[in-house]
Symmetry: C2
Subunit: 433 residues, 2 copies
């Protein structure tokens, strides 16, 4: 049974705070193991990667077979059904169109002092994308990570994907091809992250690594951060649905279950202004759980972390939502746009009852890599911005330097940074001669 | 003596690689100490902060005196000279004007399926800014961190600044006031970071912490990351000057020294297409080092990490610069705009001989918090973007769902995520009835 809370109850604040603070993830401490793996790959390169792949993935490779050949990729892609290919192509097209709009523009202007100021955006040169193997090997994640990189202009995009016992997912390889990925390596774990960060004889190093992974991958990403850039370390998925009574309870139940089925640590929350509707949704969840394929996982998530919260009105719903800062937020209410205006912290918002969150996982266009664990308070989902960086530009004329240089000199002196001041003063003296 | 390298020499590649890989920073391992401090502050709140401040800063505080009162701030501000105040005001005005242009716009559009897509930017609600105490207590850093936050629309901005033996820097307090900082606390170290991240009875928690600090502060920021957002962990400062022979050797020497004087681990590099000019600059550095106040620090930096590299032409200079990915890059050449076009990785570029880097530290307008240690390959300087986050928006119409829903369902099935598929299918079935 999930928790049922009434926002008007005397003990609500305590219960809600407990819900917000619930620790849903037990990360095993694998840092020492990962440190050894990274050191081994830095030291021995390909040999270490090959040895670790034999050990963990039961797969014997050579430097020549670390990378999928074009022919192999072609053969895997040919296994994909026409229907799945068409679906993946539509997804790729829509995600590309959305992300193309994210490219910011360069700016340059001359101010009243005569100084020319501005900035310029340039892409990361090379990026690496981690794709999990086995059950969680999602072609949609390949698109969501690779497309922003390619839209950003990343020249070289490499994927690492473990293939335990040599089994690869044809849809993952097709997604990589559709997204324009340049290199695909059949390796995984901390050793793959180390190879991308430091390079081996066969794998050139990259500048940025993104993509989801298990505890070993997450620990490896944390360790190589600084040497390369990384994306966020994602936690278990979450959804919050705000729904009024004029909704189909079964649809809302399925939306809640579509997060719950990801992971026993996932969290599905419903906020409604109608207690009876909340009960109806909970009943619909139970009914669907009778037959759902992943009912063990989804049932555990709903039982341990699910909640139905009844509020007095939608303003109260918005206020609670902003404290939750959900990864995914569905607004299934009569006027979703009006409610949307009141939301200040959320990774992605899905407006209206015809926008199930699953649309955003695949074909909506926005990215499905989103901030979890309340981090939407301070961070954003994956985007083109993660694969570009800004260089600021300044150009003084002699007149501009005369106008603003003395202030720089004064501040340098106040900070006891003499050479800073002198670098300005020497020029001013020459100009004032 | 710095290193002198000739890019045409047979052993250049090896020497340049060594230069790139030079480890300039020995971070003491303070992680265990910091973990204890954070746990103590989480557990005992104000009492722990007060006790640690007495121990490390030799300052006895109470919950009432943790925060500077408005009257105290007023009294400190009154100590600032008119000239320094005017300089700080000019800096604040110019930095504000530059950063105001960084605010991205919200977008919304309807695509051919009838779906309305877009995104919205919202500010972080509360941010905390760490300001070092003692010698490195720079008012310019207060402006550079606080102004982007305030331009972004951060409602509550708190500063922590240690005041060893009770000594505060009037310019730091004036900078805080000019930048619109809401709260200033006289605490520092890991305990201040913990107080900002987790809150105490007196200090409300924030969502994001930025600003420079020593090894303890850096370790504390790493530890609270996830609970709150943090900015980059900055390393020692660096400058690369690319200069042709038509420059004043003394000006270039002062530019190199203005980084070297920060820190013995700072790095100052010159690339020139004229070996004689390189020698002239090195001689000018030596001459300035005879009298410079911070000659011990600047001399050690220049001796241990400085380099003068002679190249065949400016294309080669650009190529080497892109491998260095410098924090600060000066282009002191006849046509700096043309050379600038060839630069792909740099934190900030200063164009032409009348733009000493020190201008950018204070009054140019761009931020002086920039990526160090080659991280300009994948990251940007501090900006308004660090204090806002993007929420993606999707709204399907029944027609849009009919158009793209089946593809989402197909992909969900291919990923064995049944509830995802059903959440779309249930709606499609109702619409198709």
């Amino acid at each position: 049974m999930p928790v049922f809370l009434d926002a008007q109850a005397a003990d609500f604040e305590a219960a809600f705070t407990t819900l917000l603070g619930a620790k849903r993830e037990d990360s095993p401490d694998v840092d020492a193991i990962v440190a050894d793996i990274i050191a081994d790959v830095r030291h021995r390169g390909d040999a270490a990667v090959i040895e670790l792949t034999a050990k963990f993935d039961r797969l014997e490779l050579t430097p020549e077979t670390l990378r999928f050949s074009e022919d192999e990729i072609e053969a895997y892609c040919a296994q994909v059904s026409d229907a799945d290919r068409a679906a993946l192509e539509l997804a790729a097209e829509r995600v590309t169109a959305y992300h193309a709009r994210q490219m910011p523009s360069d700016e340059s202007w001359t101010d009243e002092s005569g100084a020319t100021l501005g900035w310029r955006w340039t892409p990361v040169s090379a990026a690496g994308l981690y794709v999990p193997g086995g059950l969680a090997s999602y072609p949609s994640s390949v698109l969501m990570n690779a497309i922003p990189a390619k839209v950003a202009g990343v020249e070289r995009l490499a994927i690492v994907v473990p293939t335990p016992d040599g089994v690869a997912n044809p849809l993952v390889l097709l997604a990589a091809r559709l997204a324009g990925v340049d290199e695909v390596y059949r390796i995984g774990g901390a050793q793959a992250v180390a190879a991308l960060a430091y390079g081996t004889d066969t794998i050139a190093p990259v500048d940025k690594i993104t993509g989801p992974g298990n505890a070993f991958v997450a620990a490896a990403k944390r360790r190589v951060f600084g040497k390369v850039g990384i994306d966020m370390i994602a936690g278990p998925s979450e959804i919050l649905v705000i729904a009024d009574k004029d909704n189909n309870a079964d649809w809302i139940a399925l939306d809640l279950l579509s997060q719950a089925e990801h992971d026993e640590s996932a969290q599905s929350l419903l906020i409604t202004d109608d207690a009876d509707f909340g009960q109806a949704v909970a009943a619909a969840v139970d009914k669907r759980l009778e037959t759902l394929e992943r009912r063990e996982i989804a049932g555990a998530s709903w039982r341990d972390f699910g909640a139905v919260i009844t509020v007095a009105d939608l303003d109260e719903a918005a206020a609670l939502s902003n404290r939750i800062a959900p990864e995914h937020l569905e607004l299934c209410v009569a006027d979703p746009d009006a409610l949307c205006e009141k939301i200040t912290h959320a990774g992605a918002i899905f407006l209206g009852q015809f926008t199930p969150e699953a649309i955003g996982d695949y074909v909506g266009g926005p990215n499905h890599v989103l901030p979890t664990a309340r981090s939407a308070r301070f961070s954003s989902g994956l985007s083109v911005m993660d694969f570009i960086k800004r260089t600021t530009l300044s150009k003084m004329t002699p007149e501009a330097l005369k106008a603003i240089g003395p202030a720089a000199e004064a501040l340098a002196i106040s900070e006891s940074l003499e050479a800073h001041g002198l670098s300005v003063r020497a020029r001013l003296d020459a100009l004032n001669k």
